[in-house]
């Protein structure tokens, strides 16, 4: 449990609209015969900041990885930005270029500089001229506060810096939705804060975010909805205040008592 920015989170831009960003209906997934995700129903509206929590193995990472097809679901439907995910490669690439993703282990490309990491997809997927892509990249690198590292290689940066680059790299594609898969789990405690600060700023600008994380402080301050998953199902979801102060399901109570207990 790490402390967040001591400053007040600015909620003026955080507006949830009526427009549906992601619609998941009766989604099921199996690994072989193991039923990982069971009847997931979830509607995400534009501008929402959703934190997904749960014990390990509960399927929370798998669920958000289904949204950009890093994992394939076997039943039900996922509609992202009005495009239904099917095995049509064109749709998949289209959705992937609209949905940014940050990973637990950053997954920066070690053979490219920070700047090249950020410009690669805009140049090759969006076909943006190199110069313009570099300007955009520098803009976002400044936003995550590491423009001076632009010409270094990922291996020369600390974990927190790498994760901020990974966020900047996603932002360079101007995504409408951001997915975070345990972005701070592989970081030293003092680096968690710098990454969370970046995520808070992103939320303040109104980005639609789905975030698998154990940072309950972040959930309290930024999320408008917390989802608790266990055994491949959504067990409980609520506004953060209610979720933390008045959990309903037995499993949620147990989980919260365990992670908030010390």
């Amino acid at each position: 449990m790490s402390e967040l920015a001591t400053r007040e989170v600015d909620r003026s831009q955080m507006k949830v609209s009526d427009e549906v960003a992601i619609q998941i209906t009766k989604m099921n997934k199996w690994y072989g015969t193991f039923h990982v995700l069971r009847d997931i129903d979830l509607t995400v509206y534009r501008g929402e900041r959703i934190v997904i929590a749960g014990p390990s193995g509960s399927g929370k990472s798998t669920m958000i990885r289904c949204i950009n097809r890093l994992e394939e679901h076997q039943a039900g439907s996922i509609v992202v930005d009005g495009i239904e995910l099917s095995s049509d490669l064109k749709n998949i690439d289209k959705i992937r270029s609209e949905v940014g993703m940050c990973f637990q282990h950053f997954n920066l490309f070690p053979h490219l500089t920070i700047l090249e990491n950020c410009t690669l997809a805009p140049i090759w997927v969006r076909k943006i001229p190199k110069k313009q892509a570099e300007e955009t990249a520098m803009h976002f690198l400044e936003k995550v506060k590491i423009p001076e590292q632009a010409n270094k290689y990922p291996g020369q940066l600390s974990g927190g810096q790498q994760q901020r680059v990974a966020i900047a790299r996603s932002l360079c594609m101007k995504p409408r939705i951001m997915l975070f898969d345990e972005p701070t789990s592989a970081l030293d405690p003092e680096m968690i804060k710098e990454v969370l600060d970046t995520m808070v700023e992103l939320a303040e600008e109104g980005m639609t975010m789905l975030c698998v994380t154990h940072e309950m402080g972040f959930a309290r301050q930024v999320a408008n909805r917390v989802i608790f998953m266990d055994a491949g199902q959504i067990v409980e979801q609520n506004e953060p205040e209610e979720f933390f102060n008045n959990p309903q399901h037995e499993r949620t109570k147990l989980f919260l008592s365990q992670i908030l207990g010390h």
């Binding site: 490669l89 940014g100 950053f106 070690p110 053979h111 690669l120 291996g155 790299r169």
Partner: protein, 438 residues
Amino acid sequence: MSDTHAQTVAYVRDTMLDQQDPPLNQVGAVKWIRENLFSGWLNILLTLLSLWVVYAALSHLLPWALRGIWDASNLSECRALAAERYGADASVACWAVLAERWPQLIFGFFPKELYWRPILAFLLFLAAVAPVLFSSVPRKMLWVTALAPFALFWLIWGGSIWGPIAAILGFVIGWAIMTYAAPKIGALLAVILAIIVPVLYWLFVCGPLAGALASVVPLSLQTVATQKMGGFLLATIIGVSGIVLSLPLGILLALGRQSDMFIINKFSVAFIEIIRGVPLIVWLFTASLLLNYFLPPGTNFDLMLRVIIMVTLFSAAYIAEVVRGGLAALPKGQYEAADALGLDYWKSMRLIILPQALKISIPGIVNTFIGLFKDTTLVVFIGLLDPIGLSSSIRASTDWNGVYWELFVFIGLCFFIFCFSMGRYSLFLEKKLRREHR
């Protein structure tokens, strides 16, 4: 107890020490010799023993090589000169065979007055690989690289210049379809057309077109038949063609073996395992004998071309496995990050996965190339005159009947220079990439 102790423990330094040189026997050559050669009685013994072995070997080898005879026209003259100069039972090398026959070892039976062509071709080849091997060479030189294969073919085999030019035109057609037609008819159709149209062109239009152009502007070099080529010219043509062609093929096979697509996957696995599981010499015999049964009667398919194809397929199977090792060494996250950014399969392979996988595979790839280059000597068994084959044919003449060591030393040295440079280049590249990525 503790009271008395406190007095001995308390300490304040009053003068600071200046830096001093380490003891003489702890630095430089003296230290190295002490540590590595004379660190104990066993090592002293081994050192002395090794010195004696080195002496024994060199005391025979050096006089043999350095006192060698260079000015003789046949072996018996050589032996007579040796006896005259160094006594009857002196054992000295007869380098005269090299002085007289080196052009043959290098060019085979290529016409003497045309030696300038392979030499020019070799220089052109060096210019063509320079921009590929060294990133400091200007990128514009890549045009030389692109056109070099055609020019090299023309220089070595000769014939009308219009043949290679008409062949280049096929690539231009393919390129034009990809660039100008793709936006109108869609990428997939454009790719299919860009393959089919040039192939049809090469099959039906290319030959007559070249013939027509040649009859208008006859511009040609004297034709040299493949049978006339031998020695290192032959070894280099086969080796270099094999190396250049097998790398892309090997990479494709490695990707195929990783593919989720059933047929592509199984085809790649079967290809790799079958090619790898049979000795190269068997494939060479297949190339020289069996293919004649399968090809339609009357097709005259150059033996060297057949050998190049077999050598390429053979080393591609090895390259594929080496590259697969590199691909497997990459964390899954790299694939996922590339996917998550919306890169399609070929882009993510080209921009993200292969640059990293190939970097890991450099030692293995170069290893395979060195093996391939040395394996070109196997073509002697199917009647091509590689350097080893030529050494036999040199011995077959009455002048040089009985010369073994001198020829083999020369051939070995030449191969060593080629292979050692490849090994050094591999180290250079590894160091350079490591420096760039950290």
